[in-house]
């Protein structure tokens, strides 16, 4: 039967991020109350198995490493650091099953660290952070057995005037490693907004061993709040979702050139949902990169899907509070539960499903 589970997170302040691990059996949440909580699925119920203070400021994002590197998470915070945590088995003081210890603190940033992401597994244990001062930093654990030492591989700044808000690794095995960065203008409003591109792509040059800017999306000049590469799944192009004023989806296809010179990218804007009247906060792909979930200012989660027969469209709108008609009532009214969505009619300001 169709049910939403609503879990009281018991964070003392705003929750900024929620992340599933590789298998989808664990969740991590982070909050302005400076803590991170770990949730484990036990007998179909989510239980908080660890909760600890991680930073001296709001924790913006949390990310899981691939399980082959151990139970590792990375956090980033307003306190200008990012940290890597490893789960240590054994009872902790507060009766939780495990405790997490800080393996490393990445202190290179002079401002708030706004995002942290682990690289896809085939690139080894690497992570990238981006910060308000506009820098992207890429770190690598030299030895995956000693997680205390991370060496900074590279740092790059997309623009002198912009702050970075979010980043995403492409999961492609086919192409050189690629990172997309979303930016925002940290100057307060009503100052002339810069017309620079707010989404920038970096590619790792195998020859130069440096991260190089390969593309800037000049069409996006508004604050970007989230970027996300779709799982690559062996396709020969990247798909990137961008949450800004509107929701954008791009396809990025490297064009093979015979010359050894820099391969160029063919960037195509697949879609821009302008009818998304409110701002988009977050975007997230499903495991195959075929359905995109987005959350927006209207307090709803929307699901978008496309296939080769039809273009991208919204296939479901989920109320943020998880409250909706029970499907039993719905079945009585309409009989066929699969034929329509299960939600009450939306008000006029919201985009209806199709």
């Amino acid at each position: 039967m169709y049910t939403d589970k609503v879990i009281e997170a018991e964070h003392l302040d705003l929750i900024h991020d929620v992340a599933y691990d590789f298998h989808g059996r664990r969740m991590a949440t982070c909050s302005s109350d400076q803590t991170v909580k770990i949730w484990d699925l036990e007998d179909g119920e989510w239980k908080c198995t660890a909760s600890w203070k991680t930073h001296n400021g709001s924790v913006w994002r949390v990310a899981w490493a691939h399980p082959e590197f151990g139970q590792l998470i990375a956090t980033c915070s307003f306190d200008r650091t990012a940290a890597v945590w490893e789960e240590m088995p054994g009872e902790s003081k507060d009766g939780k099953k495990s405790h997490w210890i800080k393996r490393c603190s990445l202190v290179d940033s002079r401002t708030s660290v706004t995002d942290v992401k682990f690289a896809p597994r085939h690139l080894g244990l690497q992570l990238a952070t981006c910060s308000q001062d506009g820098y992207i930093r890429i770190y690598e654990a030299q030895d995956i057995m000693s997680l205390g030492s991370w060496t900074k591989h590279d740092d790059v700044a997309p623009s002198a005037n912009l702050s970075c808000s979010c980043l995403s690794w492409s999961s492609s095995r086919v192409h050189p490693p690629m990172i997309a960065v979303g930016c925002y203008d940290s100057n307060l409003p009503n100052q002339p907004a810069s017309k620079e591109a707010h989404v920038i792509l970096y590619e790792y040059g195998q020859g130069s061993r440096k991260w190089m800017k390969v593309e800037a999306f000049s069409t996006i000049t508004e604050t970007v709040r989230d970027v996300s590469f779709a799982p690559n799944l062996g396709r020969n192009y990247h798909t990137l979702a961008v949450a800004s004023k509107h929701l954008y989806i791009f396809s990025i296809k490297p064009i093979k050139k015979d010359s050894v010179a820099k391969a160029s990218l063919e960037v195509k804007q697949l879609v821009c949902f302008e009818e998304y009247t409110s701002k988009v906060w977050r975007v997230c792909w499903n495991v195959t990169g075929t359905i995109l979930a987005s959350s927006g200012e209207d307090g709803c989660v929307k699901l978008w899907k496309a296939n080769y027969l039809s273009p991208w469209k919204c296939i479901a709108t989920l109320k943020g509070d998880g409250m909706r008609l029970s499907s039993v009532d719905y079945m009585n009214d309409h009989g066929d539960k699969r034929s329509k969505s299960l939600y009450p009619p939306l008000s006029k300001n919201q985009v209806p499903w199709h």
């Binding site: 302040d13 949730w39 062996g234 359905i291 943020g320 699969r338």
Partner: protein, 857 residues
């Protein structure tokens, strides 16, 4: 100066708010979830729409002949809302919002605070000492401008209020007081904003009430035209000013170190009002003048106190649909991030600011997002059929059914039901598998029609053309050689025969045999049209009519008349009717039959060859029969290129699993995201291409993320990929020889190294024949390894030594023993069983998290 227009939530009733406009005081009650129908019916009875699902019902309205300049709501918890209003003449009145008897004795009181009539600019009711109201007035000569009134003394005219030692007038402050507010803590401190400074007074200090003063000289930016005290942080105060130079500057102060503002925010317009959110920490709303939006700032403070940072959180667009500037707003006292805004077009908007929701999607289709301190967990497969039919769920279901790791390909037909392309592809592959038993599946499928035909570079295999006449119904052999007209030229060669066979058609030689009809019916099942078409294309009209006449559909039976009407002589009328009717024939097979019959004397088969409705196999087989070498080659080229660019899996028939075929799979993958089928098909290819490995890796990783390790292992075994060399060796501690090596010499099997003695009675603990020393002891039973564990009895399965007798050890402390003993131990303990070892062995296994709720499935 215009009269005051303001809106405010009631302080004692959560669902009511007051509206002040043109000296009319109104009280509204919010009726949630009222349909818009009732709005229509009650249009004139004071109901206004304030949000998408809320209406406000007018409860009370009262017009006073006074010019209200400022007001504040009584913080007392009464059954009705009461309000203190200051007017242009300097009087303060207490009003209530009901017609019933007075809820409090102070209602109706009028206080003459100042001697000379002057504007009352601001008014603030003390939240703790609810009898006190602070008021700020315009400047008049050298008189004071800030007064405190004790409402319990209606006619108080005296300067000093007695017992609490509270003075009602602050001397020496003769600038116009523009805004006044009580600080939260204690209720004794009053902050007053002036044009160029703000001051904080302590009303308990009779002699020098000014405790803190920020003036223009003290700090670079001082602003106090309006102020707001943070109700959630007693030390935080925000002010704004209206100087030309500092127009629209908002400063946030920490009252503990007042010398400098913590944060300065710059709006480029004058500001009408600022207000801290009472329900969310650090939210400051600022309303600029002549603006349709309210700007919301998030003032975060870090614990380290080194930096405070404010950033524009968002812009609240109040009147998105209608024009209108916001003139007033009010935060809801308890509901989270909810505010009410009033525009100059008399619109009232009830706005809830939703939290930024973070979204995450687990590989198992469960979507989680955060909302208002909660995590909402939603299983997306139940939402919509479109999600349920998504390739991600489809692939998982197919993988569970064993898709890709069975040698009998025909079992995939059931798994791929619902996807006709895949079904026909697998039936083609399974057909190939059966017919070419002599060769490996891989090599057969790999060869497509294109590569069969074109052996060498661009050299199409030569064929012989033969001319064949129709086999007509009920005709004797005499007519066969009568007319040249009745003949068609067909082409045969060994290669063509092979392709025809691949397409499922029977060979041309069989067309005259008696079994021809049965074969066709077997091939096409209930699809009589297709069987008839194949018969016609094999020049056998007799069988075609026979098949159609046996059909249970009447219109098909009628068709036999039309087909038998075809004669060898060109019959102009028949042909004309035929070509006229062909567009209205719905069935592509029927259309192809008539097109083929009609295309004499100048055969042009384009319509058949490029009919998308026909199965590609049928079209290719047809081309093999009827096209000359050059034409056939061109046709196959076209078909292949087209299928590759379309990602049409049927095209594999032509391309085979050559490089072209992999290109085709790549397009297919891009279109459908079906990494599973792509991976499985590409693995049948013998072409050396790195894409094969990438697809395999991606698919294996997908299976891993679904925790379908068994399926992945089955796949690896089936594909013979991912060969792993032995990873562990155990050597004897004494002689250094490998235990497994020594044993495998004797017993020749896998997992030998852990296999104990099969003879339970013989306690032969020595593994290595060379040194005759025993293995270490089990930490639990203290028997030597290699001797059977006595805890669990073996149950008949002699193929494999009992798993419980294997030995295992902790990777960290290197203590171990019989696995059954250790399992039993760790059920109750988490520590190592060895004396003095503090290792928490059982917690070292991260896999347990992934496996724990495995039983769900």
């Amino acid at each position: 100066m215009n009269s005051l227009e303001a809106i405010a939530w009631s302080t004692c009733m959560n669902d009511k708010f007051i509206l002040l406009k043109n000296s009319v005081r109104s009280l509204y009650k919010i009726e949630p979830n009222v349909s818009s129908d009732s709005l229509q019916t009650s249009k004139n009875s004071g109901v206004i729409k304030i949000s998408d699902k809320g209406l406000a019902q007018l409860m009370y309205t009262c017009s006073e002949n006074e010019d209200i300049r400022c007001f504040d709501l009584c913080p007392r918890n009464l059954s009705e809302q009461i309000l203190a209003a200051g007017d242009a003449k300097g009087k303060i009145r207490i009003h209530q919002f009901s017609r019933s008897a007075d809820v409090d004795s102070i209602v109706g009181n009028v206080y003459n605070v100042v001697d000379q009539p002057r504007h009352c600019n601001c008014l603030s009711w003390n939240r703790i000492h609810t009898q006190l109201i602070a008021t700020g007035f315009d400047k008049y000569q050298k008189q004071s401008t800030v007064f405190i009134t004790d409402v319990n003394r209606p006619n108080a005219k005296q300067l000093v209020v007695d017992c609490d030692d509270i003075r009602r007038e602050f001397k020496g402050s003769n600038e116009a007081a523009l805004d006044v507010s009580w600080l939260v803590e204690g209720g004794y401190n009053l902050v007053v904003g002036y044009q160029k400074q703000f001051k904080i007074f302590d009303i308990r200090e009779p002699k020098d009430p000014t405790i803190k003063r920020i003036s223009n000289s003290d700090s670079k930016i001082t602003s106090a035209v309006g102020l707001s005290v943070d109700p959630l942080n007693q030390n935080r105060l925000a002010t704004f000013c209206s100087f030309e130079s500092q127009k629209g500057t908002i400063s946030v102060w920490d009252l503990r170190k007042i010398t400098q503002s913590l944060i300065t925010l710059t709006e480029n317009r004058n500001i009408l009002r600022i207000s801290w959110c009472p329900s969310r920490k650090g939210y400051l709303a600022a309303l600029p003048t002549h603006s349709s939006v309210i700007n919301l700032y998030d003032v975060t403070n870090s614990e380290s106190d080194e930096i405070e940072l404010a950033h524009m959180d968002r812009v609240i667009n109040v009147s998105s649909d209608q024009p209108g500037n916001v003139v007033s707003f009010s935060w809801h006292p308890t509901d989270k991030s909810r505010l009410l805004a009033l525009t100059d077009q008399n619109d009232i908007k009830d706005i809830s600011i939703s939290e930024r929701m973070s979204v995450s999607w687990s590989p198992e289709f469960s979507l989680s997002w955060t909302n208002d301190g909660r995590i909402v967990n939603c299983d997306t497969t139940f939402i919509d059929y479109q999600i349920d039919s998504d390739i991600s769920t489809t692939m998982k279901a197919r993988a569970k059914g064993g898709y890709g790791c069975k040698s009998d390909v025909s079992s995939y037909l059931e798994l791929t039901q619902g996807d006709s392309t895949l079904t026909s592809l697998w039936s083609y592959i399974s057909r190939m598998n059966k017919t070419s038993s002599e060769t490996d599946l891989k090599s057969t499928v790999m060869k497509g029609a294109h590569s069969i035909l074109i052996n060498n570079e661009n050299d199409c295999c030569r064929s012989t053309n033969i001319s064949i006449s129709w086999i007509l119904a009920n005709e004797n052999s005499l007519s066969r050689n009568k007319s040249q007209n009745s003949k068609r030229i067909l082409y045969i060669s060994k290669e063509r025969d092979r392709i025809i066979e691949m397409c499922g058609w029977s060979s041309l030689n069989e067309r005259e045999s008696a079994e021809f009809e049965n074969k066709l019916t077997d091939l096409c099942g209930s699809n009589a049209e297709r069987a008839a078409m194949i018969a016609v294309m094999n020049m056998n009209l007799n069988v075609a009519t026979s098949i159609l006449s046996k059909s249970d559909q009447e219109n098909l039976r009628l068709l036999t008349i039309a087909i038998s009407g075809f004669s060898d002589e060109s019959n102009a009328m028949w042909k004309e009717v035929c070509s006229r009717l062909s567009p209205v024939m719905n069935n592509a097979h029927i259309r192809a039959i008539f097109h083929f019959l009609n295309s004499q004397p100048c055969p042009s088969y384009d319509q058949i060859l490029h009919s998308e409705d026909l199965d590609l196999g049928d079209r290719v087989a047809f081309a093999c029969l009827h096209l000359a070498d050059r034409g056939l080659q061109n046709y196959l080229d076209t078909v292949m290129n087209h299928s590759v660019s379309e990602g049409n899996l049927h095209g594999l028939l032509v391309s085979g699993l050559s490089t072209e075929g992999l290109n085709l799979l790549e397009t297919f993958l891009e279109k459908t995201s079906d990494i599973q089928t792509t991976c499985l098909l590409s693995q049948m290819s013998t072409v050396n291409d790195k894409r094969k490995d990438i697809w395999l890796q991606e698919y294996r990783e997908l299976l891993d993320s679904w925790r379908m390790w068994h399926e992945r292992a089955d796949l690896d075994i089936y594909l013979k990929s991912a060969k792993t060399s032995p990873q562990l060796f155990i050597t004897c501690n004494f002689c250094g020889k490998s235990i497994s090596a020594a044993r495998s010499a004797n017993t020749a099997g896998c997992v030998v190294f852990a296999k104990p003695n099969t003879n339970m009675n013989r306690l032969n603990a020595c593994p290595v024949p060379t040194c005759r020393k025993p293995l270490p002891r089990c930490a639990i039973c203290l028997a030597h390894m290699g001797t059977p564990s006595r805890l669990v009895q073996t149950t008949g399965n002699t193929k494999q030594s009992n798993f419980s007798d294997w030995f295992t050890w902790c990777q960290r402390c290197r203590h171990g023993g019989h696995s059954s003993h250790l399992t039993a131990w760790f059920e109750e303990n988490s520590d190592c069983p060895v004396t003095g070892c503090s290792c928490n062995c059982s917690y070292l296994d991260p896999v347990r998290y992934v496996c724990e709720s495995e039983t769900e499935y």
